[in-house]
Every structure is written in structure tokens, then in C-alpha cells.
């Protein structure tokens, strides 16, 4: 378990692709530089979508936490 305290959390569990990534992008769009946004997603595609997008956008994926039936992604806005 990580001890990172997110500034915002997006719960996209149950959403089909590309819903979780778009929800994350929407939240990062309104966040301040340095804020950490946590995305909760049970869609396996997010495991590739999120790192690809954070790389592309220059944000940092600082942790991915595996929970029982979903993943939590922690993204720090550049």
C-alpha cells in the first residue's frame, strides 16, 4: 500500500475504455501543477492506457497499486 495522499480521486470503476483515461485526463486538466490525481479503474486496458498517456503528456505516473478487483493509478501533474 502506498502512503501517497492524492489531491483528487477519480472513481472510474465500471467504466468501459476509454472512459477511465478520459476521466483521468479531465481531472488532470483542472488540477494544479504538482497535484496528484488518483484514478480507480477496473478496466485492464487502463494498465497500458494510463502509462502511455502520462508519458506522452509529460506527467508522472508515480505509483500503481493493485487492489483486489481494481487498480489505483497515482499521477502527478507536471
Amino acid at each position: 500500500m502506498t502512503d501517497i495522499e492524492p489531491d483528487e480521486t477519480v472513481d472510474a470503476r465500471g467504466a468501459a475504455c476509454p472512459g477511465p483515461l478520459m476521466d483521468l485526463i479531465g481531472k488532470v486538466r483542472s488540477a494544479e501543477s504538482g497535484d496528484v490525481v488518483r484514478l480507480l479503474s477496473d478496466n485492464d486496458q487502463s494498465l497500458t492506457d494510463v502509462p502511455e498517456w502520462t508519458d506522452e503528456a509529460g506527467n508522472e505516473l508515480i505509483a500503481v497499486e493493485e487492489r483486489d478487483d481494481y487498480n489505483a493509478f497515482y499521477v502527478e501533474k507536471a
Partner: protein, 381 residues
């Protein structure tokens, strides 16, 4: 005691449902045991797919408008009012101004999508769209006079109405400029927020080679951050900047503030069970069409099928029977691939789409459906 069903929104979903209930509950409506009210803030029903053709000079906005009272069955009370508050505890809607309020036993939220161009600085001044009547006519004036330069189509956010329409627009524009002998003078660029050209991977895999073959440039992972109308540039969160001479965008979408204020869901979309379409946060409330956050495309066919499900469930509940009808994610969609060819997809929650080879026959099928849409709205087709 009269059971009162109130439908909020007179778009495709609300109108089809109103007519569905008028037919399905005819005996109860006749005896006064049931009352159905459709509330809309515009006396006209709008068929938005017509707007795709307006910029190319092929349709007029009036082709997509009909008086709502001509489309809705007489047994339905049509109330032209703007709702200012939904109180799901008291089961009551407040009308704007001094128009009073109305109670409901069952509420169906069919409030659709709204455009939010102001979320992107410079977009209102620099961009054009065909997702509103005024946008489509203004774009028509620009497009008909456009003979050379960079045409950029940017999909700024999802979900948005008709996920196929951005692909349709660039494919139609490509063909339209070719037919007019101007294609070599016009560069077309398509941008999409994620790593492929469409949210659905099957449609993206089908469309990408067509776009390559037709020399439509593609920029993926492009989430527009701002538009500079003076410099004629659009910049993404990912740091890409594109020059444009004509910028066409799919503006950010949201639902309605009413939904959020009522605690029914975020960003104006109602959180629902994606099979029963029942709201998760309130009793006796359903949502359908764009307003319902089901993850399926915001498309008229979705609203149409969902209206049938909600109609069956409401009739069962009113008659004291278990409601068993469920929505399986069914979506039908024609996709224009040029000025005289189209594809077709059909899919649901379990079965992915498999786009049909584009043909002239499918193009005419799409145009024929557009003409016969008014039968759909009446619940006949």
C-alpha cells in the same frame, strides 16, 4: 389514484418514450389511472444528425425541426417549461420563474448533452462546430468559401454526441474537396484525445487505414488545452501545437446542471444501472439517452432502444408486476465515409462492432433513415 409519469426532455429518448407509453398504457390513460407529462423547454423537436450535412450545403437546419406537439400523442400532456430544480426526496420538479411545480410518481431524465466550449480558452472565438444549429450554419459559411489551407478537426472531449460524426466529417470533407478538384490545396488533420482515432478499438482499427489511404493526417493523444484565434493555432495538453486556417471542433460536452444539483451524478450525467437504467441515487427515477451514464455511445439509436426498455419497465411497475426488461447496450449506427458511401455498425455490451464495407447502398440507407426519422419519433419505426 393517478400514477404520474413525468419525462424531462423532448429529444429522441423523451419523445419516443412518451409515444411508447401512450401506446403501451392506453387503457390506463383512458381511465385516468395514469398520466404522462413530457416537459421540454423548446416547442420544437430537433433531429441533430441533420447538422452533419449543413456545412456541406446539403441540408438546411429546418429539415431537422418539427413542432413537438405534432410528434407527441394526444394522450400525453406536453408542458413547455424550463425546470429549475429536481427534488428526488419530495418527488417534485420546480419550474423556472413563477410557473410552479409538478409532482411525479416516476421521473425519467432525458435531458441530453450540452456543449461547453468555454472550458477551452479561445475555442469559442477560434473554433467552429456542427454540433449546434448556429455552429453548423456558421461553419457552412466558412467551409463553402474554403479553397485552400489547413483544415483541422479536433475531438476535444468524450463522451460527445454521435461518436462517429468526427470520422464522418473528415471523410466527407476529403471526398467533397476531391470532387471539387481542391483536395491538393487542402490539408486535413484529425485529432483525437487517446492513442487511436476512435474510442471503440474495432471502429478505430477500421477507420485508421482508410484515413491513411486518403491522406488525412492524424494526431492522437491530442487533448486540446487552448486555442489562439489570433495566431490560428490549437495547442494540446501533451505539448503539440497545430496551425489551422479552419478549425472544426467537437466541443467539450456535459449533461445538465440540474442533474448534478439533484445529486444524481457528476458533470450532469445520471449514474444509472446500465441494464435497468434506474438512477443509483434516487428512487423512482430513470435516465436514458445521453443523460444516462451507461458508457455506450451518445446516439439516437441508443436513446430509442433505451426508451423501449424504460417504457416496458414503467408499465410493469405501474401494473404491479416485476419489471424484467433490460437494456443490452444495443447501438446501431450508419457512418458516412464520403459524399456517396457509408458503412454501418451494430453492437452491444457483449458483441463488438464490425464495420460493414462502405457502399453507396448504405449511404442511401442512411439518408432514407434520416428522412423517416420522424416515424421513429412518433414511435412507429
Amino acid at each position: 389514484m393517478t400514477e404520474h409519469v413525468v419525462i424531462l426532455g423532448g429529444g429522441t429518448g423523451g419523445t419516443v418514450l412518451a409515444n411508447d407509453l401512450a401506446d403501451r398504457l392506453e387503457p390506463e390513460l383512458d381511465t385516468g389511472d395514469v398520466r404522462v407529462t413530457l416537459v421540454n423547454d423548446d416547442p420544437e423537436h430537433v433531429y441533430k444528425p441533420v447538422w452533419l450535412y449543413v456545412p456541406f450545403g446539403q441540408r438546411e437546419p429546418d429539415d431537422g425541426r418539427r413542432p413537438l406537439d405534432e410528434l407527441v400523442a394526444d394522450a400525453v400532456d406536453l408542458q413547455l417549461d424550463r425546470v429549475s430544480d429536481i427534488d428526488t426526496e419530495a418527488q417534485r420538479l420546480q419550474f423556472d420563474g413563477s410557473a410552479g411545480s409538478v409532482g411525479y410518481d416516476y421521473l425519467v431524465v432525458a435531458t441530453g448533452s450540452t456543449l461547453q466550449p468555454d472550458r477551452i480558452p479561445g475555442l469559442r472565438e477560434g473554433g467552429h462546430d456542427y454540433y449546434s444549429e448556429s455552429g453548423a450554419t456558421e461553419l457552412r459559411d466558412e467551409l463553402l468559401a474554403f479553397t485552400e489551407g489547413d483544415l483541422v478537426l479536433s475531438v476535444i472531449g468524450t463522451p460527445h454526441m454521435c461518436p462517429a460524426a468526427p470520422l464522418e466529417f473528415v471523410m466527407m470533407a476529403d471526398d467533397w474537396f476531391r470532387e471539387r478538384g481542391l483536395r491538393e490545396e487542402v490539408d486535413i488533420t484529425y485529432t483525437y484525445p487517446i492513442q487511436r482515432v476512435h474510442g471503440n478499438p474495432h471502429i478505430a482499427e477500421w477507420a485508421r487505414p482508410i484515413m491513411e489511404e486518403r491522406d488525412i493526417e492524424v494526431e492522437t493523444f491530442f487533448n486540446a488545452e487552448s486555442v489562439d484565434p489570433e495566431a490560428e493555432t490549437i495547442t494540446s495538453m501533451e505539448g503539440t501545437e497545430l496551425d489551422y486556417d479552419l478549425l472544426v471542433t467537437i466541443p467539450p460536452h456535459a449533461g445538465t446542471d440540474l442533474v448534478e444539483a439533484a445529486g444524481l451524478g457528476d458533470d450532469g450525467w445520471v449514474d444509472v444501472d446500465k441494464h435497468t437504467l434506474e438512477a443509483e441515487a434516487a428512487e423512482n427515477v430513470y435516465a436514458l439517452g445521453d443523460a444516462a451514464a451507461t458508457g455506450v455511445p451518445n446516439a439516437g439509436s441508443v436513446a430509442h432502444y433505451q426508451a423501449g426498455v424504460v417504457g416496458q419497465r414503467l408499465a410493469s411497475e405501474i401494473r404491479g408486476r416485476p419489471a424484467t426488461a433490460t437494456y443490452d447496450g444495443k447501438t446501431l449506427c450508419f457512418i458516412e465515409t464520403g459524399m456517396d458511401a457509408a458503412s454501418f455498425v451494430e453492437f452491444d455490451y457483449e458483441s463488438p462492432p464490425s464495420p460493414a464495407p462502405p457502399s453507396e447502398k448504405l449511404h442511401w440507407s442512411k439518408l432514407a433513415y434520416n428522412e423517416s426519422y420522424w416515424l421513429t419519433a412518433r414511435g412507429l419505426l
